[in-house]
Symmetry: C2
Amino acid sequence: MSTTHTNTRTKILQAMLDLLFSEPPAKTRMSDVSTEAGVSRQAVYLHFKNRADLLIAATHFLDEKLDTDARLAASRTAQSGQDRLQAFVTAWGNYIPEIHRIAKVLISMSETDEAAASAWETRMQDMREGCAAAIDALNADGTLSPDFNTEDATDLLWTMLSVHNWEHSTGACGWSQEKYLTMLALTTQKLFYADPVKAP
Amino acid sequence: MSTTHTNTRTKILQAMLDLLFSEPPAKTRMSDVSTEAGVSRQAVYLHFKNRADLLIAATHFLDEKLDTDARLAASRTAQSGQDRLQAFVTAWGNYIPEIHRIAKVLISMSETDEAAASAWETRMQDMREGCAAAIDALNADGTLSPDFNTEDATDLLWTMLSVHNWEHSTGACGWSQEKYLTMLALTTQKLFYADPVKAP
DNA sequence: TTGTCAACTTTACACAATGTAAAGTACGTG
DNA sequence: CACGTACTTTACATTGTGTAAAGTTGACAA
């Protein structure tokens, strides 16, 4: 009964993630997913309205597995505004590679599917909250650069931390994940700190 | 003969651009383009191998109309490295909104089409050349921040000037084109100048 | 034991968009 | 007038999404 129902649904979601994160990247057509899950293609439509619906569900499914909220919340415990900004930047920067593949498909699907667009938009707004909190903490400490007000600084940080920028940095620029994080730390300091730290 | 041939080809390319840049955004299926051009759908396939081929041709067609090379070359005449960087950033920043729509489709198509990916990749590499030239000019003046070597600074500037970042800034952040340019000028100064200028 | 229900399978089809194929038309030029 | 080029028209193959409906299976209840 309900257990079986849930199992099949989970099997499909897991199959979607397996395909999305497989190396080399695999196609994720409805038939690919159903085959991977060991069910019929039609069974997928019993659980998910359409491809966008399945993808959005897979996104939430991955969130649970990664315990997304907890990871990002950790940055809120930092003492100083500067520590908090760096903790947030590092947490998010390390989170991106884990969601990158599914984010890419969701973004791509957003061009044609309203629900997918809305799902991604929500995530981005949540993410902006995190940026705002970090910038506000900096501002509260009086360590935010006078060159920016909090709104502009938030938007700028938000832009810098985009999935596309991670992709460009680690892809086109050929930076390692470590280098990406180092550069992110350096640039956020130079941009947002009232008194930027010099690189060693 | 050849004149007619060229005219039809041009009509198709112009139709593609008209649709791409129309407000509100229109679909650009092969049939939409042919209808807009006033020719049969099959006529399009007489001139272009496939959709990707048409789109790449439309990109070059737009380049000619915008006199792309000349516009970006202008930044090379600046005297100081700082002026040169700002001239380049402004030129490119003003160029993006004019190519944005077609760039977006080309990027999207790059996911599935090898030729489209290659065409976009070439453009991006050309663009990186411009970034490198600007950073090199700064470095030659001794005004490049010691926090970066020229390679890293080039990659960072390259990332900052991406089409995606323009899109995010003017879209999600809701910045005007003027504000986008202002913030770009400010951030590039703060990041790359050995002795950053303070904002007014 | 039989009946019923839900979950799943199987088969079939509609639809949209790309791309191929080939016969037909029309017009300018030798 | 004959010919070739450019274009049109019609038709069809292909791929992937999504809908529809009949058939199967197995657990559970009366």
